[in-house]
């Protein structure tokens, strides 16, 4: 059973989560006591063994729900005292790495404390990093042969169309009586990308620090080539860095953006375009979104636990977000229903894929 935890845009307080966490912790405490007792029931006949198995399953389910709530709690704004605790943890981790080498940092990561350590460090690095001028690299965008396409109908449809591999930009154009509508799909960071790949990891830093990046330039060029103008409605869907680019494009005001949909994106890195409907889907197990800092409340972020127990970067893969998007499609939320209807294209469309290569002097 997949639990879905919408966090933003609704009546919510982290005190509410903390209260529930306390309740579930208390429930788990009672359950653990029974489970210890149940370990002796296996010798008391079939019925007792069955009851013992049911107790173990019950306790395991309560523990899973409690862990899910705790994971969600880590992605929402904390009280100032908790934030200070996090910062203290960060300072200790850095000091320990300096004194005892990176192995201690690995030990910290292994203990599960690395995420709250990295989060404030990234936030403060962003705030205090010197403002470099926007990158001057040239980006060459190449269109691949076009194919036909049918309009995406669900969030999952859209996530499934985010490109993988060498193709980072996928654009679909639909023609209706009201004119063209576009859907733009943007891939995430290619961590193995070479220096001439605009989607390599340094593009993330460029975008966070300067507000521009080679990848952003490539998307603008591709959209221009596909015929997206200032007035054609467009829906932007991105995974990870692709989500950041989508938000940056929406925030620029240069396009008529009907909606922004992101998965696994550190959405705190760039500001939300508050007038534009947004849906951010993140896994609490995904280490990338927390790098963007705490979740703000101005838009709609949905924290959905992974479907198959993925951890760390496995929880960041685009594929791991497909069942999560499907889970959101399945719940009967009026806002999501209205959004899907508002951005629905019709008819047969044209699909365009683009490759981008960075030229010029790498940084």
């Amino acid at each position: 059973m997949t639990l879905v935890f919408p966090v933003r845009d609704i009546t919510y307080s982290d005190d509410a989560l903390r209260g529930r966490l306390d309740d579930l912790t208390a429930a788990l405490g009672h359950g653990t006591t029974v489970a210890v007792s149940a370990a002796t029931w296996d010798h008391g006949g079939v019925h007792r063994a069955v009851l013992a198995a049911r107790v173990r399953k019950l306790v395991s389910e309560v523990a899973r729900v409690r862990d899910a709530v705790e994971s969600v709690l880590q992605t929402v704004p904390t009280t100032e005292s908790a934030r200070v605790t996090t910062l203290e943890g960060a300072i200790c981790a850095v000091a320990s790495a300096a004194l005892f080498g990176p192995f201690s940092m690995l030990a910290t990561a292994w203990s599960g404390e690395l995420l709250p350590t990295l989060r404030p460090l990234f936030t403060y690095a962003r705030e205090f990093a010197p403002q470099r001028p926007a990158t001057r690299d040239e980006v060459v965008v190449t269109a691949l042969p076009t194919t036909t396409s049918h309009p995406p109908r669900t969030l999952r449809d859209r996530i499934a169309r985010i490109p993988r591999g060498d193709t980072h930009i996928h654009i679909e154009r639909f023609n209706s009586s009201e004119g063209y509508r576009f859907e733009v799909f943007l891939s995430g960071t290619n961590f193995a990308g070479s220096l001439d790949d605009p989607w390599n990891a340094s593009s993330n830093i460029d975008l966070a620090v300067t507000g521009s990046s080679p990848a952003l330039q490539a998307v603008r060029a591709a959209m221009d080539d596909a015929g997206v103008t200032r007035h054609t409605p467009v829906v932007l869907t991105g995974h990870s860095q692709g989500g950041l680019i989508a938000l940056a494009l929406a925030e620029s005001g240069d396009f008529t953006v009907d909606a922004v949909i992101t998965v696994g994106t550190p959405v705190g890195v760039v500001p939300d375009a508050t007038a534009i409907p947004t849906v951010h889907i993140i896994h609490p197990e995904d280490p990338i979104p927390v790098l963007g800092g705490f979740i703000e409340r101005e838009s709609s972020t949905w924290v959905v636990p992974v479907a198959h127990g993925e951890r760390w970067f496995d929880a960041h893969h685009r594929e791991s977000y497909l069942p999560s998007a499907a889970a959101l499609d399945a719940i009967d939320d009026p806002r999501l229903r209205a959004l899907r209807a508002a951005i629905q294209s019709t008819g047969t469309g044209v699909a365009l894929d683009y490759r981008a290569i960075r030229t010029g002097d790498p940084p």
């Binding site: 935890f5 919408p6 005190d15 209260g19 309740d23 208390a26 029931w41 107790v55 729900v65």
Partner: protein, 59 residues
Amino acid sequence: MAFPSFPDPADELDALAVALEWTLHRDDWWGPARRAYDAELTVLRDDARQIADELRTTL
């Protein structure tokens, strides 16, 4: 010196059910997924009560 007695498993399961019941009735929840979440907690609460009843009648 007397050792404390081991808690009665059925009573502990009742206490587990009460904790889940308590969380189900908190009024400051977080929105449209409440029903899905509450449904799961309700199942767990009912399981706990049912196991407690069976323990009392069979052990």
